[in-house]
Structures are given as C-alpha cells and as structure tokens.
C-alpha cells in the first residue's frame, strides 16, 4: 500500500511563484542552484537531474493521519503515537530521513524514552565510519575537487546514475580556479557497468575504464596499493606461467592462483596488469588526485575493507604528492542524522539510550538487525524525503511519519503525513562531504507539518 488516504486536501496554495537558489534534498550532493516554479501545489524544476525532477515534481497524494487504518485528526494521531511510545520498553527510532531538526527531535525523544536511534541508510555510511574509527583518512570536498583535481578515480560506484549532476558540477565544469596551471583531468572508472558517458568535454584529458566485477574490485585496489608503495608486483611480459611465481605472494593471493591461466597477458581480476600499473603511475604523477566512491554502491562483502584500501592508497600517495578521498552517497538526510547524533552524543548513530546514557555499538544497535532478530518492542519510522525507504517488515507496532506516497510494506499502526525539508518547510541539511551544510527553503507546496514538529508534539504528549 502507499501511505495515502482519501479525504482532506493539503491546503492547496494559490498562485505561481518562482524560487531560486533552491537546495535539493533528494541526494547527498545537495545541489543548491535549482530554480523551481510552483503553481498551486505543483512544482516545475528548471535545472535538476532526473532524481531531483522526479522528487520535486512527484504529485503529492492527499494524505491524512491514520490510526489502525482509520482517519483521525493530527492531535489524535499524535496521542496514539505517544501511547505506543509510552508503552514500549525499548522503542526503536529508525528511518531518520530528514533534516537536522528532525535528527534533533529524534535524539531528544530517544534520550527521554531510552530508545535506539539509527538511519535507514546507515549500512552505507558505516562502510566509511568503520574506516574513520579504525584508521582515519585524508579527504576532500566537492568544491576542492571541482577546482583542483587532475585525476579522479571513481571506484565501484555508478556515480552518474546515483548523483546525476556530479560530473556536470564537479568533473566537467567549465571553470576552475587554477586554470592557468592546468585544469585538464583524467577520469578513471574502476568497476564494470559504470556509466562513463558524462566524462566528456574540454575539461577531460583522458578516460580510462578498468571493467572489473564488483566483488573483485578489492583485488585491483590491492594491486594499486602495492604498486604505489613500490612493492615488486611487476610481471614479466608474455610469460604466463611465470606470472604468479614472479609476482610475489600478494599477487598470487589476489588472483586466486588463476589470474593468468586463461589469458595471454598477465592480469589481475580479469584486468591487464599493465593497465593497473598505468593507473598506479598516474596516481603517483597526479598533482591532486581524488579517489571517489559512493558507499551505498559498494555492495561487495566487507566493503569497509575496500574503503580502507582506497584510503590507504591515498595516505601512501600523500608522502610525495597530494591525494584525497571523496565519499558521495548521503541520500535521505543520512549525513544530517549522523552528524547531529555525533555532536549530541559523540557517536554516529546506532546508539541506545536504554541505560540512560548513550551506548554505542554499530552491530548491536543496527535497527535493521534488531528488527530481524526480534529486538525492540515499537518502531517509530521517519521518512520525510523520498518514497523508497518505507517501513521495513516487522511485527512490532509502528508509527510512521512519512511523506505522502511513501511505499510501505505493511500498514503502520499510526501514520502521520509530514512535509519534506526544502519543499514544504525550511530546514538545514548536511552534505555528503560532512563539511558543508545548506539551508533548505520552503517552497510553500503544502501545509504539511515538519517531521520534527510532529515528533516534538509526540514527545510533549508522553
């Protein structure tokens, strides 16, 4: 079902109005140069990517608060939600798709009620957080990369599909600050099936693709890592049998002992070794290289180890030149939730307040795992941005604060329609690089309340 109901309209706004410098909440890049015209409650995007256009222009179905499928007033729904929260001994606060105000409201009620907090897209973020919390990293940001990078290596992530304006804004931009000392850039794609079509134009010196299946990307990264460290991985030309023997233990392990068995030239994970060496050389010669990945796309097992390998390549290269990582992703307000949770508790989500104090365990307080393993006794789920992160399957009583049209696997016990930051109400959100945050405008589409306001009302009703 979808979280819509017949009945009351949204309080249809009147007239036509154009908004400029609009920040888009629909992916972690938070592009803030959109121009949007609103006619009534219909929005028209002038310069958005497909995801932005779909997000802003999605017709908003009428929606009313529901309790066990019956329409109720907002106040009644808030009371019903408060009753569920009050009756729970371990409430789970999941989803968390929203702005900083929402994160503040979730943390407040979770602190008060001894709950657990987690974001719907934490799994991707944790591919990064595990690396930060074990070894740290050297990172760049969007503007820095846009102006400075002469080498961009995109790893295992179909960036053009995931972040439709990344190339346009960061890679093939018309101007850079340092045009007089170069400004051409090489783009390397590591991974198969990646859309390379956007890497074109006068800014682009060269495009190199290493098509390798996702689960074997770590092998290619390990080879680059070895090469930039100066390890003797070099394989003699043409002598297939010699290859594993002469290339050392690492290459043997990486290749599973069969890399060169069916090819005429040495290769790792199906990629010509010479091509990998070429990339390693490019890395060493770069003035400012950037390793780019979108954590949710790294679906190989133990993807954090691949992130770690990338950051270790970066670390090594900084001994002689400058290099940095750039993590994308960050959809559905995930960086807003993680940053706010970190400054308020010290921990980036997956925190339980059950003891009264914040307790952090990235395995134990993964709400997705907790639901699967039957832990917790109530789920409050917030999805105020996209329609794709609907309520997970659960037998627990559920409260959903969701954008109208949110996909739901099952009817929630209580549903309260809420507005989207940057469309229905103002707010602030943190970008995928975890440095820049942007103001979200209200485009006056509806009078839907913000999820933060609804949650604050629920807390007040406890």
């Amino acid at each position: 079902m979808t979280a819509q109901a017949e009945g009351d309209h949204l309080g249809e706004p009147a007239g036509t109005q154009t908004y400029t410098n609009v920040t888009c909440p629909f992916c972690g890049l938070l592009c803030d140069d959109l121009q949007i015209t609103r006619t009534g409650s219909t929005l028209k995007v002038e310069n958005g990517c497909p995801r932005a256009t779909a997000g802003f222009q999605r017709p908003l179905p009428a929606a009313k608060p529901l309790v066990r499928g019956s329409e109720v007033s907002l106040e009644e729904a808030v009371q019903a939600a408060a009753a569920l929260v009050r009756g729970a001994s371990l409430p789970l606060y999941g989803g968390m798709a929203g702005d900083v105000s929402l994160a503040r409201a979730v943390l407040s009620i979770a602190d008060r009620t001894g709950g657990v907090v987690d974001h719907a897209l934490s799994e991707g973020q944790y591919r990064n957080f595990r690396v930060v919390q074990t070894s740290g990293w050297i990172m760049s940001t969007l503007t820095e990369t846009r102006n400075r990078a002469d080498l961009i290596i995109i790893v295992g992530s179909d960036v053009h599909k995931l972040h439709g304006r990344f190339f346009d804004r960061i890679v093939t931009n018309e101007h850079t600050m340092f045009e007089d000392i170069g400004g051409k850039r090489t783009v390397v794609f590591i991974g198969e099936g990646l859309d390379t079509s956007a890497a074109t134009g006068p800014r682009i010196e060269e495009v190199i693709s290493l098509p390798v299946s996702k689960d074997r990307i770590p092998e290619v990264l390990a080879a680059i890592s070895g090469l930039v460290r100066g390890h003797a991985l070099q394989v003699p030309e043409g002598t297939v049998e010699d290859a594993p023997k002469r290339s050392g233990i690492l290459a043997t392990l990486l290749s599973g002992g069969k890399s060169a068995s069916s090819a005429a030239v040495p290769e790792i994970a199906g990629v010509k070794f010479a091509d990998i060496e070429h990339i390693a050389e490019k890395c060493k010669k770069a003035q400012y290289g950037v390793m780019v990945w979108s954590p949710p796309a790294l679906s190989m097992p133990q993807a954090d180890l691949s992130v770690h390998m990338m950051t270790e390549i970066v670390r090594e290269l900084n001994l002689t030149t400058r290099f940095a990582g750039l993590a994308l992703g960050g959809n559905e307000g995930a960086p807003s939730a993680a940053s706010t949770c970190t400054w308020q508790t010290g921990y980036p989500l997956r925190v339980s307040f059950a003891s009264g104090a914040p307790e952090y365990d990235s395995y134990r307080y993964n709400i997705s795992r907790m639901l699967t393993d039957g832990e917790g006794d109530m789920l409050l789920w917030v999805a105020s941005i996209g329609t794709d992160i609907g309520l997970p399957q659960t037998s627990l009583p559920t409260v959903v604060l969701g954008t109208p049209g949110l996909r739901l696997a099952q009817p929630p016990t209580v549903y309260i329609p809420v507005g989207t930051p940057g469309i229905d109400h103002t707010g602030q959100m943190v970008r995928c690089d975890n440095v820049v945050s942007l103001p979200m405008q209200s485009l006056g589409r509806s009078k839907l309340p913000s999820s933060a306001d609804v949650l604050t009302a629920i807390e007040a009703a406890l």
Binding site: T20, N21, T23, C31, D32, S108, D111, R112, F129, V132, Q133, T134, S135, G136, W137, I138, M139, S140, T141, L142, T143, E144, R146, N147, R148, R169, I170, H175, T176, M177, F178, I181, Q287, Y288, N318, T321, R322, A324, S339, T340, T342, W343, Q344, T345, G346, Y347, F353, G356, A357, P358, E359, Y360, Q428, V430, N434, V435, V436, S437, L438, P439
Partner: protein, 555 residues
C-alpha cells in the same frame, strides 16, 4: 523581580573592585545599582564567598566540523565518560571531546557562562552555529577563518584595492555570523594543497606568491580599519616546530605596533637549545611582548593525559600525524576555503617533550606581567580538555603545589625552562582578569565579564578554599541572566545562551564580485553560503547579540 546577593567578596577588575565586600542587585537579568529601598524578591546570602562575573573562555574548540570529526574518530574516548540524562539534562559523553549538551553543562558547572569557538571555516559556519545552538547555558560566538581561502589570496595576488579586501573581510564576518577573525597557518593550509609542506613567515605561497607576513598584515590592518574590537587572532606559522620561537618573535615585530592576538602561544615558543634541540623560548617571547603593548596572547597550556588535537592547520596536523595516539587521524582539504586536521594525542608527564611543553605554558603565564593581555586557555581540546582549568588555576595560584607537581614530570625537561625559578603566584584579582575581564574587553563584549550596573547578570559564586582547584571546579552558585542555573556545582536549570556577533560596515557591491565568483567556482551559491539570522534564532531557540564596532576608517 529583584535579586540580591548579599555580602560576597567581589572580584570585578573591570570596575576596579578587588575583593571588597559588596551587595549585588539584579533585576530582569541585569545587574543594577544598589537600591536600599527596593523590595527584594529573592536574597542569596553569599557572605564569606567569592563573587565574580561568569567566566569567559575566549578560545575553545567546541563546535564545528573538526570537533565532530574528532568526536566520530574516538568512540573509545567517550566510553570512559558516558553521562546519563536526568529530569533536567540530556545524556551525552564527556572526556576529551564532550558532546554539545555536556559541553554546556560542564562549562556552567565550572562557573563559565560564555565560550568562543575560535576556528569556524566560512564553508562550515552553518554547522558550527548548529552545534553552538545545541550547547546550552553558555553565551557563545565564533571567529571566522580567512587566510588560506582562494578569494583572499587571489585578491592579494591581483593587488586588489584594499577597500575591496576590507569589504570581503567584513562580508565574511556577516556571512558566517562571526564576532572576530582568525588566521591559521597563514596561507599554509592552501599551500599544503599545492604540496608545499612548510610555509615560513616570509616564504612565498607557490601559486599566489604571497607570504604569511603579507596575509597577517592585510587582515590585521583590515580588521583595524573596519573597527572590529578583537584584533586578528593569529595561529602562526610553524606550529610545534623546535625553533619556531624565532618565527613568533618575527611575527610580533612584523606588526610594527598594530594590535594582534597570538593564540596558543605555547605551541609557538620552542627554541633549540640542548642535546635534544628543544627548549623553552618563553622568556624571549615575554620580553618582546613588553615592548609591544598592543599584542595579547592566550597560552594553550598543555595538561597531561589523553586528548585529541583538532585544528584548521592541515599542514602541521598532517606532519604531526605520525605521533597520533591512538594511530588514527583525519586530514581534510576543504572547499578551496580552508582545511582541518584531527590527531588524537596523549601528553605524558614523563616525556621530555611533553613536560617541556607543560613547563613552557606555565612559564608564559608567570612571565607575562600584564594579566589584561593574557588569557587562560588550554586551546581545548588541543592542550587538554577545558575541565582541567581549575587544576591549571591552582598551578598558577599556588607555588607549593606547582613545585610538588614539578617533582613528577620529566626532570630533564625542567632544565630547559625557567619555570623552576619562578615564584610568582597569581592573585584572585588577576585570575578574574584572566578569565573574565580580559577576554570580555578583548572581544568587545560590552556587558559581559563584569558585575557592575548594566552587566548581564552572569555571576559565579565560589566557596573560599585554600585548595584553589577544589574552589574553582565546583562553584556554589552560577547565575545566567540572573537565573540560578548551577548550585553546588550541579546544573539545576537549563537555559539557552545568546550568540555574539560583530558586524563591521561594508559596501554591498562586493556581492557582485562574490556572486560571480561563487557561480563560477563554488558548489554552494553565495546566497546559501551566507548564514541568516533566522537560522540561528531558529524559532526562539537562539538569540543574536550584535556587539558594537568602531566606525570604519581608511588608511
């Protein structure tokens, strides 16, 4: 509502009150003149107790990206100090990198009522203010960083008109909602992005061709002519490098008498004597400062124990990363605007280097004879967490305690510092200058840092105790805007403080250049780069206080 604090020993250096017994009257959140006829609604008997204004920390890293990176980096640090919620207060974590609410509670419980984040990147200003907005019980403000941002360096390289540069400085303070301006490793953060690994005072940036000296003087003169009260807040070149005392002395001389604030000067006072080529330069610094009355400093005292260093100085932090403990660190290049480096660290009393750093800090305090020009800081969390201040105050006020502590530190280190020969003990009055009146005057907080009529009634009442650490760590009472918020060192009421900003005049035409610049190069629109008042006020959670600036002048 009239409140009276009766019979306290008042230390109020801004009003020349030195330990005299005075009654203090508070009405509607402000101190008012004594009025024997007024009806007293609430009287607090503070006879025998010490009364001061709420303390002000003018340099503490409590909000913004690098602090939150540091928080994320070190979960094991927080596990030592997890704090449960109460009926009144939120939960959180403490130790080296307290979470925002715990930061507010612990400062207030230590008698502090204002704290200033000294390293807000323009690109990160929104987040810095969001974090400060989640820090209760304190008035706050932030110093915005320029000096490695492309726009300034480009403008200097292009020899743009000085009025244009002043407009940009002022615009940046407005856009980032700052009360002052800081420069960190002038030009060096940018130079590091061009793979320069060091940048001395007169060394040219490889791309822009400007030197740190040029940058410091440009910003110093700019702020002076814009009428901003706090002078340029300088984190100089070569932080942490033995021999950097020469750079610091040269920086002082470079000002030619103009006002400047040299921050965490301890980290910039290293000479190269002895077998290890590491010794104290504090005497040289203190001597030269006597000749430059317009220069103020804060110390950045090192305190022994585990902490985390968090700085905008990506160049020096990258260099220091080899000493990370635990072995885990973050360096970032940020938005062609700035950078940051976060390196966990443990200062050990038995380490020669760390003991000497500790000694140099104390030496600096004891050698500087003008308490109005020196502020008490550990550069939290870089030299140590802010809650070590009471211990530090005892080290300054209690010669015997200091000597006893010296017995436990690396004895070799003390040979390269004059600390063992210094007998000075700070007086209560001087401590009140260091922690209240001095910072308030320097930052231009016109109604903070004193308890005379007209002051905001931020007042701390201490119970006299010969053990000054015990005395200062647990005040009997703290009032915020006239409300009793802490009793016996525990928060009893939570209120939000205001955000202090300064708004020097500028010509709005600068936005034409900036708009074009942002559109061409940046990933954020100029209009969205600016942080609006509404975002700080946030429906009444926050409040903005605009502190006065002098009239703009031109040279």
């Amino acid at each position: 509502m009239m409140i009276k604090l009766t019979g306290g020993k008042v230390y109020d250096p801004a009003n020349n009150v030195n330990g005299e017994v005075r009654d203090i009257y508070v009405r509607d959140g402000r101190v008012v003149a004594a009025d024997p006829d007024a009806r007293i609604d609430k009287e607090y008997d503070v006879r025998g107790k010490v009364v001061m204004a709420g303390a002000i920390d003018p340099h503490t890293h409590i909000g913004g990206g690098k602090v939150t990176i540091a928080r994320m980096l070190l979960p094991e640090d927080h596990e030592k100090d997890e704090v449960a919620h109460t009926e009144l207060t939120r939960s959180g974590t403490g130790h080296a990198l307290p979470s925002t609410m715990i930061t507010g509670y612990r400062y207030a419980e230590m008698g502090y009522t204002a704290a200033f984040e000294p390293a807000m990147l323009p690109a990160n200003a929104r987040q810095a203010h969001m974090e400060l907005g989640d820090t209760p019980l304190l008035d706050k403000g932030a110093f915005v960083m320029l000096g490695s941002d492309d726009f300034l360096l480009r403008s200097m390289a292009e020899k743009k008109d000085f009025e244009f540069i002043k407009d940009y400085i002022a615009w940046t303070m407005h856009a980032a909602q700052a009360i002052a301006m800081k420069v960190v490793n002038p030009g060096g953060i940018s130079a590091f992005k061009f793979n320069q690994r060091k940048l001395d005072l007169d060394e040219k940036h490889v791309y822009y061709g400007v030197t740190p000296r040029d940058i410091i003087l440009t910003l110093t003169r700019g702020l002076l002519e814009l009428g901003v009260t706090h002078p340029l807040h300088v984190h100089g070149c070569n932080l942490g490098i033995p021999g950097n005392v020469e750079t610091t002395l040269a920086t002082i001389r470079a000002t030619e008498g103009l006002p400047l604030h040299l921050t965490h000067i301890q980290f910039h006072s290293y000479a190269t004597e002895g077998d290890r080529h590491f010794s104290s330069g504090a005497v040289q610094i203190a001597d030269l400062l006597k000749k430059y009355p317009n220069i103020s400093i804060d110390v950045g005292q090192v305190m022994f124990g585990a902490t985390c260093t968090a700085s905008g100085d990506s160049m020096r932090q990258y260099n220091g990363a080899k000493n990370a403990d635990p072995k885990r660190w973050v360096v970032m290049d940020i938005e062609c605007d700035a950078g940051c480096g976060v390196v966990p660290f443990r200062y050990r009393d038995k380490s020669f280097v760390h003991a000497l750093q500790w000694a140099i800090g104390l030496e600096t305090f004891l050698l500087c004879d003008d308490p109005w020009r020196i502020f008490l800081t550990t550069d939290h969390p870089n030299g140590g967490p802010f809650y070590t201040y009471p211990h530090l105050i005892r080290l300054l006020m209690d010669r015997d305690f200091r000597r006893e502590t010296m017995l436990h530190v690396n004895p070799e280190a003390l040979k390269y510092s004059t600390l063992p020969n210094l007998d000075r003990e700070y007086s209560m009055y001087e401590v009140a200058i260091l922690t209240r009146a001095g910072p308030a005057r320097s930052l231009g907080l016109k109604d903070l840092g004193h308890v005379g009529p007209g002051a905001r009634a931020d007042i701390t009442v201490y119970t006299e105790d010969g053990n000054r650490e015990r005395m200062f760590e647990k005040p009997a009472m703290v009032f915020k805007n006239g409300e009793l918020v802490v009793r016996d060192g525990k928060v009893i009421k939570v209120v939000n403080g205001a955000t202090h900003v300064a708004r020097p005049e500028y010509n709005r035409d600068i936005e034409k250049s900036l708009k074009n610049y942002f559109d061409r190069y940046h990933t954020v629109r100029m209009e969205n780069f600016r942080l609006s008042d509404e975002e700080i006020i946030d429906g009444g959670r926050g409040e903005i206080i605009v502190q006065p600036t002098r009239a703009r002048t031109s040279s």
